[in-house]
């Protein structure tokens, strides 16, 4: 399998705070990687380092065999090929759903409007956003709809890699399912994804690899069955069992 992304020894400081303490990561093409871990463990920072929204202080990131952390790399060009989905959706508030999806196609890929519209429509349909919502503004959509539009905006650019930073954390359970279903479909279509999430059930079904991060380091990684059901490290055990407990339905209540 072709390695699409390789991060080697990534360090990041915010002032004196050492947020990432030497993270190594390798993602093969077509794989879905899920990152779990307590808040403040550096998951979001790591994700933002991978598309250079945050510049790592030390370390190397190879994307598609190219070192994007050094030399005369055109950051904007690299970012075209790496989609990003945010926890708070971050749709452009002044644009309709379809214009949100079209912006990158027209302004970055320099497509003509009719072509861009066609691709945008396809992307919106693929995430279950029906035509009646295309002309709506973000503030007129539900959280789940906004997040699906945001996913459409990212995949319309046909990125090689999709980064998702807690895409369902701001959503209520029903809307979470909406969004997770979309992601599951993307995973089946072999979109390469790195997803930060606390949805263990989803990770179990969809992930090829689960990574547990804490305190700026990767504690443990492996296939979901192992990390989620039989972790080796004590810290992973505690974290996973806490999450399991959170989502358990006790039989007593039946």
């Amino acid at each position: 399998m072709n390695v699409l992304l390789k991060a080697i020894n990534i360090h990041k400081y915010f002032g004196k705070q050492h947020v990432l303490k030497g993270v190594d990561l390798e993602v093969e093409e077509g794989k879905t990687v899920v990152i779990i871990g307590p808040s403040g463990s550096g998951k979001s920072t790591l994700l933002r380092c991978l598309n250079l929204l945050i510049k790592p202080d030390k370390g190397t990131i190879l994307f598609n065999g190219m070192d994007i952390t050094r030399g005369k790399i055109n950051i904007h060009r690299v970012r075209q090929e790496i989609g990003f989905v945010f926890q708070s959706y971050n749709l452009f508030t002044h644009l309709t759903a379809i214009d949100n999806v079209m912006l990158g196609l027209v302004k970055v890929k320099k497509m003509d409007k009719s072509m861009a519209r066609k691709i945008a429509e396809e992307a919106l349909i693929s995430v279950g956003i029906t035509e009646d919502l295309w002309k709506k503004y973000p503030a007129q959509l539900s959280g789940g709809q906004q997040q699906r539009v945001a996913i459409a905006r990212a995949i319309a650019m046909s990125p090689k890699l999709l980064l998702l930073d807690e895409p369902t954390s701001a959503l209520d359970p029903e809307l979470t399912v909406e969004v997770l279903n979309v992601l599951e479909k993307l995973s089946e279509k072999k979109m390469t994804m790195i997803i930060v999430t606390h949805e263990l059930g989803f990770a179990m079904r969809v992930a090829d690899e689960v990574i547990f991060m804490e305190d700026g380091r990767i504690v443990e990684k492996g296939p979901p069955e192992r990390i989620l059901l039989a972790p080796e490290k004590e810290r992973t055990k505690i974290f996973v069992s806490k999450l399991m407990e959170l989502y358990r339905i006790d039989r007593r209540y039946k």
């Binding site: 970012r79 945010f86 912006l103 302004k107 905006r153």
Partner: protein
């Protein structure tokens, strides 16, 4: 008093109308110069390198730190020394326009700063350059936020345009003074002029309120901090 006024109008009505038009011309043209200049300055200040940025900051500080009359006299009386001779209308237009550009760029900068960081990040993630992000994402949102302050600026300019009096431009104040000195109807003339200014600013605010409604983003309540 009424008959006196009618008398004045029948004699000097055409001068008043011309003066009125000149005042409006000066107001709108200098606002337009200020608007375009303000956007350019605001965009440059949020996307170019530091040394240029401080140059623009210096310009804004000078404009804000000196009386407008000094700026007008600089353009009208000092530039000819350097070989640039301007008529009173052009000089007033340049002085008011540059002054307004500095203020409008500040209003826009405040508005730009109120656009959440996440909007920039989302645009960058799609591969937009900083410039393209400012033009396509930030400015369209910032302009909507800045509408109320820009309206105030337009109304200020309407009133500030009267400083062109000092370089003998026959705008409203100059003409009013001239008519008054001929007819000795000082009070009546100045009341009429005051009503002119008030009526125009009321009409302008009404127009802008309608524009504001028209461009407002459906469903979105903009919070200005």
């Amino acid at each position: 008093m009424i008959s006196e006024l009618l008398d004045i109008f029948s004699k000097y009505g055409i001068d008043l109308v011309l003066a009125f038009i000149l005042t409006l011309e000066l107001t709108f043209l200098s606002f337009s110069i200020g608007f375009v200049g303000g956007i350019i300055i605001a965009v440059l200040r949020s996307s170019i390198a530091k040394p240029f940025r401080s140059l623009l900051t210096l310009f804004i500080e000078i404009v804000r730190g000196t009386p407008m009359i000094v700026q007008l006299f600089f353009v009208y009386y000092t530039l000819p020394v350097l070989g640039i001779k301007l008529d009173s209308f052009t000089a007033s237009l340049i002085a008011l326009g540059l002054n307004s550009a500095a203020y409008q760029s500040e209003y826009l900068r405040t508005a730009i700063n109120s656009i959440p960081r996440e909007q920039w990040e989302a645009a960058y993630s799609l591969g937009l350059s900083s410039f393209s992000t400012v033009i396509n994402v930030v400015i369209p949102q910032a302009l909507r936020i800045a509408i109320p302050s820009l309206t105030n600026e337009l109304i200020y300019l309407l009133k500030f345009s009267s400083i062109a009096y000092f370089v003998a431009l026959p705008e409203l104040i100059y003409t009013a003074k001239w008519i008054a000195s001929k007819t000795f109807a000082y009070m009546q003339i100045y009341i009429v002029i005051a009503l002119f200014y008030t009526a125009v600013s009321m009409i302008l605010s009404e127009i802008v309120t309608r524009i504001e409604k028209k461009v407002s983003i459906p469903g979105l309540t903009i919070k200005v901090s």
